[in-house]
Assembly symmetry: C2
Homo-oligomer: 331 residues x 2
Amino acid sequence: MTIKDIAKLAGVSVATVSRVINDDAGVAEKLRNRVLQVIKETNYIPNTVGRNLRKSKSDMILVMLPTLSNPFYAKILKGIEKRASEHDYGILVSVTHHESRIEKKYLKMLQMKQADGVISLFSTLIAEELNDLAGKYPIVQCCEYTEGAHLPYVMIDNKKAAYEATKYFISSGHKRIGMISGSFYESSERAREQGYKEALMDSGLPFDEGYIFKSNYKPESAMEMCRKLLDMPEPPTAVLTVSDTLAIGAIKYLKSVGVEVGKDMDVIGFDNASITRVYDPTISTVSQPRYDLGTVSVDLVIEKINNLSTVNKGIILPHELILRESTRGEA
Amino acid sequence: MTIKDIAKLAGVSVATVSRVINDDAGVAEKLRNRVLQVIKETNYIPNTVGRNLRKSKSDMILVMLPTLSNPFYAKILKGIEKRASEHDYGILVSVTHHESRIEKKYLKMLQMKQADGVISLFSTLIAEELNDLAGKYPIVQCCEYTEGAHLPYVMIDNKKAAYEATKYFISSGHKRIGMISGSFYESSERAREQGYKEALMDSGLPFDEGYIFKSNYKPESAMEMCRKLLDMPEPPTAVLTVSDTLAIGAIKYLKSVGVEVGKDMDVIGFDNASITRVYDPTISTVSQPRYDLGTVSVDLVIEKINNLSTVNKGIILPHELILRESTRGEA
DNA sequence: TGAATCTGTGAAATCGATTACAAATGTAAA
DNA sequence: TTTACATTTGTAATCGATTTCACAGATTCA
């Protein structure tokens, strides 16, 4: 069933059918109704591929996730979908597994006009590659930012968030604070390490690089790093981790060696994963406004779709430090 | 940069360029090289939309997930991607949020030839709708099966898995066993409830519908259900849950009222989520062969893509009961 | 009434590829 | 040197839509 068939059945030209489909003004009421009638009877749906080819547009936004194992992205996606559908855009999801080869493959969809824009939750590309692409296509970054890339982005102030978390540790009496970071999500990890560092220094506490351990994002790895922290000559009494999964690993280890979390040792994670509310102890964490991160990303990418040369906005959304059992509270 | 430009630059016809691109035999070595040279110099990539329109094929498989909040699907997707790329198929992911309106929207991609086949991790459609679609397009189900639908599927034997878990409880001395199920994933939930029931009956223990509680999949809801179980006149001494998240909720509640899990009360979950290895206590669970579920799904859908009228295979993969601290062990 | 303007419609070009078919060339056999 | 046949190549149709442009008929204005 193609537009030709409809035209034939309705006794009009394909142009008229197309006009009816696209709500073009200037089709006589009588003909319009006849066509609509035929469309209804035949359950005709215009072919997307044909349309996209002709229009060089797909009304689709591609969302690029680094992984599917992190439920963190679920709510962001909901925000994205909501706002996108308000603007009559559809969503497709692709998963890069942190591989630039895969990321590049999906980005070709832009060139092919299979997607009008991209929301990237994490990019493996270098700034130069991103800048090249962003000059030609609408790409925005969400949650992570690539240093030196000039694209719109939306995220929280990671440095400030880590600063506040660290300050909180300090205000409740901690003098030695460790950090479990990573080396996957460059931009946020660096910013959080920086916030941690500045909080220590602003409080007149010594900053020692050796108190930062890099893990992969597996809890087992955090357990290992936590062991190393405890094995130091002067072990810390509090640990900031760049993700809740890492916080869980750290806590797991601490419990296994009889250290009471929230008393002997405090832990703060990142992202407010749902498990933080049910782990034992419940876990203090920095919450990101996930839904809003999603909706704002869409606003940004649509702005770029409509006019590629608009200035690249960088938007910072507010975070929140949520305190639970894994921190002891003010001293 | 289109095929026409390449043809012009190489001084040949578009047909020849197309032949070179598609590795057709019967292009003289000299011309072929000339064309390849131009293609390399210009970084030309054939336009997917044009090609898809002409070929009525996309070499894409659509993976439909019910949600992004369950990391369970991550490894399945990896299996899917691996096997698909071996067969030169690409993958697109869509998220239905358990809404049939959204699911139907994405299924239109089949009609539009934007995807050659679908792997559905969970369908909200009724058997009749699925049968209609499956008559026209390659659709396979993975992990969940819709009763009455005649499509290929791959999953574990959910009934048997629950049967074995329940039998394990019984063999370690439990006489009253509760279950926390749900009402989202009809087919697996029903099968697991049935397995639970049969295990009780085969062991001469009374089966009481009242020992099965339906939760949504939030841990908080499992806490509530667990409270109800404990409040029963004759509370169970073991609980089987249809997901690890629910197991966590149950355990959380048990700990909060001072019941020692793995001693006073045993718990088994489903899916072997990574958190089960780090929760306190670690959680016994039924593991599904996620990677293989993915690869086999692809095999099935490609078989259907190549020949829609092949018989609909149903494939059962082996599961495994993994015992950890949340179960006390043999009596 | 005739010219000017508006409306509504359809024919045909177009998007970027593939492919059926025809035509041109080359090669081998008679 | 033909003829027959295989090998290469190109022309044009095609996939399913949108859109430009021309034209016919209706309407307005002088």
